[in-house]
Symmetry: C2
Subunit: 141 residues, 2 copies
């Protein structure tokens, strides 16, 4: 895509955002910064960037697609905070192997897989869940 003001503004925001955000969030941030850019354009760029492998995408639990500038180029997965969106990348050679293995066993071909882990990050975890004296009373889904 040609270097338009909108494309550059989006690049800048993506560079600044450290967590996964929805297209609408990103558009909101652009507007907040005073950039003139339409939601449609944001969607269109994100689509291209994600196909390029420039941004990483993930689906949250509501089905919304979240985007973030790719950190590592290698295949990886995420542990994402349900509450604040904070997310860490994790590599899982074990998972890749496992996925290939079980799929091969079922004679499936042309594979791909999604693995997402959701939870509460340290900051969003209620205190009693971290205290070793008070054991967790909630039921992990």
């Amino acid at each position: 895509m040609r270097g338009t003001q909108q494309a550059e503004a989006l690049s800048r925001v993506l560079a600044d955002l450290s967590e996964f955000r929805s297209a609408q969030d990103i558009h909101g941030e652009l507007r907040r910064r005073g950039e003139g850019i339409g939601l449609t354009t944001v969607y269109r760029h994100l689509q291209v960037l994600s196909r390029d492998g420039t941004v990483d995408t993930l689906r949250d639990e509501t089905g919304e697609t979240l985007y973030r500038r790719c950190r590592t180029s290698t295949h990886h997965h995420h542990v994402t905070c349900r509450s604040c969106g904070y997310s860490v990348e994790v590599e899982g050679p074990a998972i890749e192997t496992w996925a290939e293995h079980v799929a091969a066993e079922a004679r499936f071909t042309d594979l791909n897989h999604t693995v997402e882990i959701f939870g509460l990050c340290p900051n969003c975890t209620p205190a009693q869940l971290t205290s070793p004296t008070t054991r967790a009373q909630t039921s992990p889904a």
Copy 2:
């Protein structure tokens, strides 16, 4: 929910369907069978059944939610055919352990995870992909 005709008709269809289907597919099947039932009702029942753990849900790559009567009560994942929807259940103790491990390492709590493997089932796999002499030329996503 009370035993209405609609609830029973839905139960019957779910019992017959062996693969994951969308709410709309299931509604279509019910209509095909001559059952008088609205799409809204199908959605409402599936929602309850899935919370009950009576049906299993999974999100396909387009973001649509698919449903199927639960087979095993234990935690498991699926290898699903992109083309025909055929799906097999796989258990992955290794995955569960891995997920817990990496999340704990990041100090996350109250975890849950999704793992979906998509591919082409044996029936939907083009012949040349299975032949050992002609190696795969396609680029697995």
